[in-house]
Structure formats: C-alpha cells, structure tokens
Subunit: 337 residues, 2 copies
DNA sequence: AAAGTTAATTAAAACGATTTAAATTTTGAA
DNA sequence: TTCAAAATTTAAATCGTTTTAATTAACTTT
C-alpha cells in the first residue's frame, strides 16, 4: 500500500541537501561534488525514488509521449488485421527511448476536429503519428499545417511532411504483372473505397501494369467494395450473375480476396485453374487458405518502427534523413496465382 | 503554426480578471458572478483556449489516463487476434469519459518489474487494466498489492481484486460437451502453455465435461502446445505418427484448431466425419474456413468496455458493483462439429 | 449610521520537478 | 594572513493549473 509518493524534496531532506542539489545530482550535472552526488543517488535508490513525470513535463514543456491517431472510425481502424503489428513496431522504438504511447481514436466524425485540436494543444503528446484518413478529411490537413511534429503513414501530396509510406502503386503493379505474365488477360480489380489513398494507388498500379502489357482496361472490371470479406463475396456474386468472363482477380486487400475465394469455391470454380487470385497485405489468414493466397507483403512492424524512429529524430532535432521513406512491397507466391 | 499556447493567464488578462476567477468561471463555480462567467467564457472561446492537462494533472494529482499493460512479451500480446477488439472496447469507454489511454508493453522480462514500478509511481496513469500474464509472474502480484486501482482481465486467486473474466471453464465445458453429445469419445485436447490461467481453466472444463459424461480421461490425449497454428499442425502430425485413434479435437484456441484442421485435411482425413473439431475464440478466420470452424465466442469488445467502466467507477469512487464480472462464453456451431 | 451578512473577487500557496542566478564555501597563490 | 578565483550549493523563479483563505464590495438590519 505504498500510496505515499517519495518526491525529490524527500530525497533532499534525507540527504541533507537542497532540492536543487538533489535534482542536479540525479541529472548528473558536473557542478555537484562527487561525494554529494553519490550520497543523493544512494538515498534515491534506498527510498525507491521515481520522479514524477507530470511535474517534469510541466517544467520541461515536454510530455515524452507520442500519440498514435486514427482519424477513421474506431471500428475500421481496429479491425485492420495489421494494426497490431504497426503498434508493435511503434511501441518497441518508443520503449527504447523511454517514451510513452498514447492511443487516440476520434470518438466520432462530428467532434473529430475538436479531439485533434485538444491533443494538439493540451500538450499531452509531443508528436503525432497519423494513420491515413479519407482523402476528404480536412482535419488531417489542420494537424499537418499546425506545425506540430507529425509522421504520416501514407502518401501525402505536399512535400514538407515526414512520411513512411507503403509502396502501393508498385505493389499493385507487381501483383497485376504477376497475373499478366501467366497469360491472364481478363483481370478483375477489387478496389477499396476510392476515398482512401491506398485504394487510389492500388488501382493505379493495376492500371499501369495493364498498360505496360498493352491490355486494354475494361472499366467494368474495376469493382469498388469496402475492404470486407463480405464485399469480396458480393463482388464475385455480381460478376457471376452478370455473366462476364474473367480469369483472374487482383484484390486491394486479403480480406476481400478471401471472401471472393470462398464464393468462387462455393460456385465450383477452380482456383487457380479457372480464376487466379492475388490479394494484398499478407495477413495471417492468407497462408492458411486452401490453396494458399498469393499476396503482397508489407512489413507493417517495420513501418511502425521507422515511423517512431523518424519521430524520435524530429523531436531531438537530429537529422531526420529522408523526409519520405518508402517501404517496398514484396510478392508472396502461394497457390492461388 | 499556432505553437504559442494560450494559457489561463492570457484569458484572465484579456478578460480583466484574476486567474483564480477565470479558473473558477470556467469550472462553473457558483461563486462567480454570471456576467463575469459569461465574459470569461466568451474570451476563452475567442482565443481558442485549451487547458493544459499537464498543469491540471500536477495540481489535481490525477492524470485522467489509464494504462493498459501487457505483462507478456510484446509479440505474444499483440498477435492475439482479439487484442484489437479488447482495445476498441476499452477505448470507447475512455473516450466517453474524456480519459486517455496509455499503452504499455513491458520491454523485456528483465526490466519488467522496473517498468511497472515506474508506471505505478510516476503518476502518469490513474489506474491500470492488466492483461493476464503467466501465473508465475511475480510482478503482477506486486502491482495488485500496491493498492493501485487495477482491473485484471482474468481469474485471480484472491478475493480483493476487481476482475472481468471470461468463462473459460464453462466455455471449455460447453465445447467438450458438444462433442460428447455427438457420440465422440476419443477427444484430444490441444492445450495452451500451462503457465497461463486460461490454459489451466480450459483444460479443467474439458476434464469436467468428460467426467460428467463418464468418459475416462486419457492423459495422452492432452497435448500442450503454444497457441500457434504451427503448434496445432504439429500436434496432429504427432498424433498421426503415434497411431493413436481419435475422433475429435477440442483446441484451446482457434489458431491451433486451424493449424490442426489444415494438417488433417492434407492427410486426407475428413472433417467432421472422421475427426470433429471445436476451437476457442471465434476469430474472424474461423468463419472463413471450409468447413467453418465450430468454436466458442467471447465478446472481447464487451469485456474491454466492462473493464474500462469498472475502472471509471473505481476512480470516481462510485459503487463498483460486483468486484468480479464473469462474461459468458457462447458456442458457435459451424461445420467442423 | 454602525454592525452584521452575503456576494464576488483575488492573492497566494500548492502540485513536483528543473534551472538560473546568486550565495556560499573551498582552494590556491601572493 | 588575505584575496581572488574556482568549486559547490542553494534560494527562488518557473511551468499552468486549482483551491483555500483572505479581502473587498454590496446589501441588510437594527
């Protein structure tokens, strides 16, 4: 029941010095006498002193905390299968630097702006790592323009901001290219909502690959869904109902790909013989499907680490290096294509 | 670039009152004159005042923050498929109460103790929601005994601590009972590491069901693995190699169940005709398997909400209600059993 | 009009640390 | 011994808020 906290004042009193000396001693300031320093350290250790970070923060005007913000609806953010990997990477670097991680979810679209504002100004966090919101989200712009240290986890249209980006256009290109090289010509693209930059970019990569291979883009082959398994299944139902012929699917994420796969298998369509599939994300489930889902892997944990490291550099005003970091995508070939 | 912060002092100066009055006015204290109150509010709004929570915390000795701690190795915690649901539930309640969420991962076994200690004493968080660690973890005990407000997300052996628990024994009983009622007698249990309470409890539920149905427990049928898909696959390999006959598997989690399923299917064993399977957790992947995995569902988001709500009650010294809350498990019947 | 209430405001202390500038002690040289 | 310089130590201010106790102003009562 050690609810009474040992403060610096206690240390000073016991050691018989002023709080100033105690503070300086513990900070390792060369001005304090070595003997005094030892004494203070000994007392601090004996009394089990843990500095109150709130007090320290107030004075230092630093919180030693970074906020990880999801502008999306909480549900959407948390159900991202790779969300936890991202968090793991960020977390690791922060722990190494004795920083705290604050998780921040915009409660609702309505008070989103106010929520950001608060984090931005109440000084609870020194910097923000931002997950891409809808490209229509004006709040993001506000955060970025505030001059607050920000690392954005996606592609940003202006030069001045630090980002760690996935190679979405390139990844989509690799996926589509892989299908084309197998002689597939009628490739359906299951796209995510076009209000997200990733969806736009993955569609772009798909288009570029088609162009490269001189395959004409059929607009009816691009189906915009919502990244869910149900969405993938739905798309296949629509395709089958329409009677359109297709020999491959490139899905903008694994979950839609898996939904599509399931629907195809239930309709007795053989994968990959009749329809080849490539997904995106390489979630754990992908390897467990029969046949295994060919997909694009992105090292999300590494992205988290890079983002956090970049933030640390920004805060310590070290050299941040390249403002934009692009993490390459990798094609994982399994059974579906 | 609004990096200069508006403080209460600024508000007071502009409104022509003392900081004390400004503070009182904004806090809605009845002592301040209505006109003054309106004036201060107007100024605060106009200058876009956001109170500095660090200053407030220092004075109030409250951080308006709760920490969510994983005593396990970070990797283990984050790869829990339902980790994000838990987080979502906690997050929702905290946002409703204007609390912040601090995520805390013990960097390594070695400095685990120091890490907890720090959170406990540096007053960055007002309370801790604790994910179950190994039952051998002494640090947990220390946190709990410190008298710090704690909500433990599992079964605790002492009376005095607030918990939100899953119905593990009951859930395992339901799963095993379901298999027994289908006439399965040779039921293998894929257990998790016995250093975790959930593993112990799920094994216990399995045993109780067997006993209830007067089926003798064969110790060779209890296989301790590590909760991974690889572990599940491995278990099946061992079983097949040993030549032991078995007609069902009750796995302590879905991931092992899926690994086992995959291995069985690759060996040409029909599910559920030859071997029935019941998993545990109802992860998203479970529904996507062919056949769909029968499993036990636990509303992890709800558990998160309950835990956070309990913490809020503890901090505001309201009636916490039952100290122990047990959330019932539900059998989801799909194709594997 | 004096005394007593009540209402409204504010000065000042407090939270727990850091840091600057000033004060004190120690040291070394003359 | 004396004094300046160097080495230590400390008083006090500061960060931004809240809260207590004191003060002032306004209003009632006799």
């Amino acid at each position: 029941m050690s609810r009474i906290h040992v403060t610096l004042k206690d240390i000073a009193r016991v050691a018989g010095v002023s709080t100033a000396t105690a503070s300086l001693a513990l900070a390792g300031d060369p001005r304090v006498n070595v003997k005094t320093k030892r004494l203070v350290e000994e007392v601090a250790k004996r009394l089990n002193y843990v500095p109150n970070e709130i007090g320290r923060s107030l004075r230092a005007k630093k919180a030693e905390t970074i906020a990880f913000i999801f502008p999306n609806s909480p549900h959407f953010a948390f159900t991202h299968p790779y969300f936890s990997q991202l968090l793991e990477g960020i977390s690791e670097v922060l722990v190494e630097n004795s920083f705290h991680l604050m998780l921040s979810v915009a409660p609702s679209e309505a008070n989103e702006s106010a929520a950001y504002d608060k984090i931005l100004r109440n000084r609870r966090a020194d910097g923000i790592i931002l997950w891409p919101a809808s490209i229509r989200d004006r709040n993001i712009m506000k955060i970025v323009e505030s001059g607050f240290p920000v690392v954005y986890l996606g592609r940003w249209h202006h030069e001045e901001i630090a980002t760690v980006e996935r190679e979405d256009i390139g990844g989509a290109y690799k996926a589509t290219d892989h299908l084309l090289k197998q002689g597939r010509k009628r490739i359906v693209h299951l796209s995510g909502p076009q209000e997200y930059q990733v969806s736009i970019d993955r569609l772009e990569g798909y288009k570029r690959a088609l162009q490269e291979h001189k395959v004409l883009l059929d607009p009816a082959f691009v189906m915009e869904k919502d990244f869910s398994m149900e969405g993938g299944a739905e798309a296949v139902k629509e395709l089958l109902a329409s009677g359109m012929r297709f020999d491959a699917i490139f899905s903008a994420n694994d979950r839609m790909a898996i939904g599509a796969m399931k629907e195809l298998q239930e309709s007795g369509i053989r994968i990959p013989e009749e329809v080849a599939i490539v997904g995106y994300d390489n979630i754990e489930m992908a390897a467990m499907m029969s046949p295994g889902l060919t997909t694009i892997d992105q090292p999300m944990k590494e992205i988290g680490r890079l983002a956090a490291a970049k933030m640390m550099a920004m805060l310590s005003e070290e050299d941040v290096g390249e403002l934009r970091t692009v993490v390459p995508a990798r094609l994982i070939i399994r059974g579906t294509a």
